[in-house]
Point group: C2
Chain length 424, copies 2
């Protein structure tokens, strides 16, 4: 008998009929002889509706109260799901994050899980019951106040509970069939990836693939917990996220590139004419860190010998743009830079693949493909298993498609073969 943790997102429980369908799947898993723990998000647009209500009463609601408000969303979906399961003749018990033992710090709106003490969940399983747990929420260790985990919170709840319960698998249900080699809306020939490593999945998530949140994959990697991303609309196998995707030898040769991710949510700021003195860049990025701005890529031009000045460009979430600009304005005089440029018409395209480690020439091939497609590269950054470029936002689709084709990821193509090349 396996212990299966399943997570259903808001679109999977959007209305009563969705909930009844999900209940049938859960009952089928239970009847197949498994212990089942289900993590559920708020129904459809509930969270947005609650946020809208909050805005109507207060422009800047206190975090504690906003968390109290938002956590009612999962309370509704989990109770309804437990009822739907009971209606199918199986016993189910719903539990809030607090009841399920999800202990967090007290950072309202973006709490981090400190500990998971799932005594009541174990009790329910021992009693033959299906446990339904509210995703996205916990209880603060210090204040005993209700907290929320922020973006990707329900996935994180699922993985954290699965790890604490030593589950055999954490199934993340979504409205697509799994993780794809590229966004199928941009690349119709994109294929489902059967197995992918935690490292690659983390890079995918960090580069804009929205299917799993970085945080939940990190958590799963730490505990070696297999994640199975699959569709709640079919019983097909989805994508397995595991330590070593090759271990089962299912594929003779893993592709060099696992997928192409893209992200349109970033903007670029250029600090123009920074005096080329020691410590100026450090001051700039310290200022941004203090303002809690997340920086992604950074490029510094070679200083022009004639002026003794340089330009520093970096990318950041577009939503952090005004915070960053305001913070930098304040140090303009002290640093003595000339001006600030802001460009939100950019996009990031990333190639991800563990095969890069052992295959030189990937970068050259990627850049050649973009050049052939007429796409200009503005910035570049790399990791051991990833190459990212910043391009104009209008070029994102073209760049993704070109890269996908160049590395033979299109469906029905044969494995890519890379000839020689100049190394990365």
């Amino acid at each position: 008998m396996a212990l299966v943790v399943q997570k259903y997102g808001g679109s999977s429980v959007a209305d009563a009929s969705c909930i009844k369908r999900v209940a049938q799947r859960i009952v089928a898993t239970k009847k197949a002889g498994n212990d089942v723990v289900v993590i559920v998000s708020a129904m459809g647009d509930t969270t947005d509706e609650l946020l809208d209500l909050a805005q109507q009463v207060s422009p800047l609601p206190p975090g504690r109260e906003l968390d109290m408000l938002l956590t009612s969303g999962e309370r509704i979906s989990m109770a309804l799901l437990a009822m739907a399961i009971a209606n199918l003749g199986q016993e189910a018990r719903s539990f809030t994050g607090s009841q399920a033992g999800v202990i967090t710090d007290s950072s309202h709106g973006r709490a981090r899980i400190i500990d998971v003490t799932p005594g009541r969940i174990r009790g329910a399983l021992d009693g033959g019951q299906i446990a339904i747990v509210a995703g996205f929420q916990g209880v603060s260790q210090d204040t005993k106040d209700i907290t929320t985990l922020g973006r990707g919170g329900s996935d994180t709840t699922a993985v954290a509970l699965a790890a604490a319960l030593d589950a055999d698998v954490c199934e993340i249900y979504t409205d697509v069939d799994g993780v794809f080699t590229a966004d199928p809306r941009i690349v119709p020939a994109a294929r489902k990836i059967p197995r992918i490593s935690y490292d690659e999945m983390m890079e995918m998530a960090a580069c804009g693939a929205k299917i799993l949140h970085l945080r939940c994959v990190e958590y799963a990697r730490r505990f070696g917990l297999p994640i199975h991303v699959r569709s709640s609309f079919s019983s097909k196998e989805g994508t397995w996220v595991v330590s070593d995707p090759d271990s089962e030898g299912k594929e003779m040769e893993q592709p060099i590139i696992s997928g192409v991710a893209h992200d349109r949510s970033e903007a670029k700021i250029t600090v123009v004419g920074v005096p080329d003195k020691v410590g100026e860049a450090a001051t700039i990025f310290k200022t941004l860190a203090d303002a809690e701005v997340n920086i992604d890529m950074i490029v510094q031009n070679v200083s022009a010998a004639t002026t003794g000045r340089t330009d520093i460009s970096f990318t950041l979430p577009t939503s952090d743009g005004s915070t960053a600009l305001t913070a930098l304005k304040k140090i303009q005089e002290r640093i003595g830079f000339e001006s600030l440029l802001f460009d939100d018409q950019i996009g990031k395209v990333s190639l991800i693949g563990a095969g890069m480690r052992s295959h030189p020439g990937v970068t050259a091939m990627f850049f050649a493909a973009l050049a052939d497609a007429g796409v200009n590269i503005e910035m570049i950054s790399t990791s051991e298993i990833r190459i990212s470029v910043i391009v104009g936002q209008d070029d994102v689709d073209t760049a993704v498609g070109a890269a996908h084709r160049a590395f033979d990821l299109d469906a029905d193509q044969v494995e890519a073969v890379i000839y020689g090349g100049t190394g990365r």
Copy 2:
């Protein structure tokens, strides 16, 4: 500095603008130098909407899960109210029933309060904060599951917390100005009652006055806690419910009759032709009690000497009608009664007044007024401070108006004077 507990019902917090208005009243009470604890119901029709959702997924949802679902309603309203108060510059903290220490038994849907341990509420007050508490809900002592208190639950929460905190007053806010001598929709000349005793208020509540639930008045009486029923739309004094309304000597002479209540929610069942043997009535009412049917009034005809049979009539909530009839059908053969009659076209009209104790003739005057108005009396029941009659449902308005006039309760009338009479 006084400790004021305020309770706002669903219509007082129906939308964002209502919530902001309530927040202003709460802040004004706080600024006047009081400690303030607020009990709040779910917004407007939230509870009905949640019940409707439950019906969509399961015809008979488990009580535990229904309670989990319904308690999300107050969670939403209390968090929004705390936000609205924070927006006015006062610190507020919302607490679930469980966090507020409302400990109940585990009867889901109609839990009874066992204990109140308001440590966190006291802590909030000591910190200068306004405490907002979810009405209607608690946590079961045994199972630690979330419970709801059933009908009148939020009022009961308010009174229970006020008693546990030794509050100076429990203010129940509603959409009318207080308790009236009769329903103003039926008797336009009805007056607001400035002060009324717990006993009279309990009789009023039991006889259909919907403004306060019987249970909360009972609770307040046990702890000698003054209740102030008032409008959330004005700052006028409402009705004080206290032990001894005359103690302040505000009125030279209390009226004999405090008010006229009515109730259209009952039905009458007649068990026809019951053999006149010892124990038959006991069997009938034991059967009904086992079926959890609440009986109100009972009348048994004098047995007809010729047949040795009698008729037994009783009233009950119309909603219990089919349960009662089904239970009685099952014992028809054993008891040997002839048939069952069901009549839901009845209404109950009740005169309530502590002055009845010392004034004979009230019953005679009441019956004369009904006779003059052409109203036929079907059943009668009395307590020390109440006379109730069952009349045809179409006669209810006429009967209420006639009684109200006969006892000089109409506004601008002088105090009633009762001449002699035959006693009750």
